[in-house]
């Protein structure tokens, strides 16, 4: 559930540190269909090209929450999920079929609050052209 070296410690982190990036396979129609069923989000704009076109789009678009699941994963690959206090994302650009997303995470703040040692991370998902698809944060509590 985290690195072989165990949960990272607050004192071992510096503002500006980066986590390993996570690159996911290119988005396919099949991946969106599986996510549609697994997520329970049956909005046809993600799987039905006829509906997407009737809505003025060229094609189906990926679920923002699929992209957000990737950004959450960068954090759960690093610390146990129970350490996560908050996660947020702004969806800045639409993710399309064929986009290959890479998520990056950087320590942007360390603070102690009510005896809790908190680290705030900036999270970004970019496509293969470098376009930022999502930008957000995670707040984690570390030992």
């Amino acid at each position: 559930m985290n690195t072989p070296f165990g949960t990272p410690r607050y004192d071992s982190l510096q503002v500006g540190d980066h986590l390993p990036t996570l690159t996911m396979p290119a988005i396919t129609r099949h991946a969106l269909a599986v996510y549609c069923g697994a997520s329970g989000d049956h909005n046809p704009v993600h799987v039905d090209i006829d509906f997407a076109r009737a809505s003025g789009l060229d094609d189906v678009i990926a679920n923002g929450m699929l992209v957000m699941s990737y950004t959450g994963r960068v954090i759960t690959d690093w610390v146990p999920q129970s350490a996560i206090r908050a996660l947020d994302t702004r969806f800045k650009a639409v993710t399309r079929i064929g986009d290959e997303l890479t998520v990056s995470a950087e320590v942007i703040e360390k603070r102690e609050e009510d005896g809790r040692r908190l680290v705030r991370m900036a999270l970004e998902a970019r496509d293969q052209h470098g376009e930022v698809k999502t930008a957000g944060h995670a707040l984690v509590e570390l030992p």
Binding site: M1, M24, P25, A31, V34, Y35, G37, A38, S39, G40, D41, H42, N43, V45, F51, A54, S55, G56, N63, G64, M65, L66, M68, S69, Y70, G72, R73, I75, T76, D77, P80, Q81, S82, I84, R85, A86, L87, D88, T89, R90, F91, V94, G136
Partner: protein, 155 residues
């Protein structure tokens, strides 16, 4: 009048509007399917023995899956229909979660939602709605809350 082209669709009077509360049981099969759908390879999300060894009561609910559980109602877009929000014009603008406990497979979670903010940008061409959900277990202990911001685009 063409309902699809009505604008504004929502006004600030709807702040405080409550969406239907409901309860849902977290099913481990769904969590495994979600892991597959999101490319998750960490066995803590699919193997109960690994999850329990890590200190969870069962398979943990991944950070974003609470959003999905909220869509388990008979019609997750019921309040869109009630308020005349045209689904084809809606995009997800922002999403945030704050967590008090990690929910696990087998938990029965109660979701109650409310519109907490409505604002417009670009002379009303973009209408933003912020919908907050409170998540609690059956005993009423808070698990998490999360805010979903959607935008209705009249572009």
């Amino acid at each position: 009048m063409n309902v699809e082209n009505r604008r504004p669709v929502v006004t600030a009077e709807l702040i405080g509007y409550r969406t239907p509360a409901f309860e849902v049981e977290v099913e481990k099969g769904r969590l495994r399917l979600f892991a597959k759908a999101t490319g998750q390879t960490d066995p803590v999300y699919t193997d109960e023995a690994v999850a329990m060894a890590a200190g969870y009561r069962g398979l943990p609910v991944p950070p974003t899956f609470l959003f999905c559980l909220e869509m388990e109602r008979d019609d997750p877009y019921d309040w869109f229909h009630a308020l005349g929000i045209p689904l084809g014009k809606v995009l997800h603008a922002e999403q945030s979660f704050s967590y008090l406990q990690t929910a696990c497979a087998g938990d029965v979670l109660r979701f109650s939602g409310e519109i907490i903010d409505i604002h417009h940008k670009k002379d009303g061409a973009l209408e933003f709605i912020v919908h907050r959900n409170f998540v609690a277990d059956r005993s009423g202990h808070a698990i998490a809350e999360f805010d979903r911001t959607i935008v209705i685009r009249h572009l």
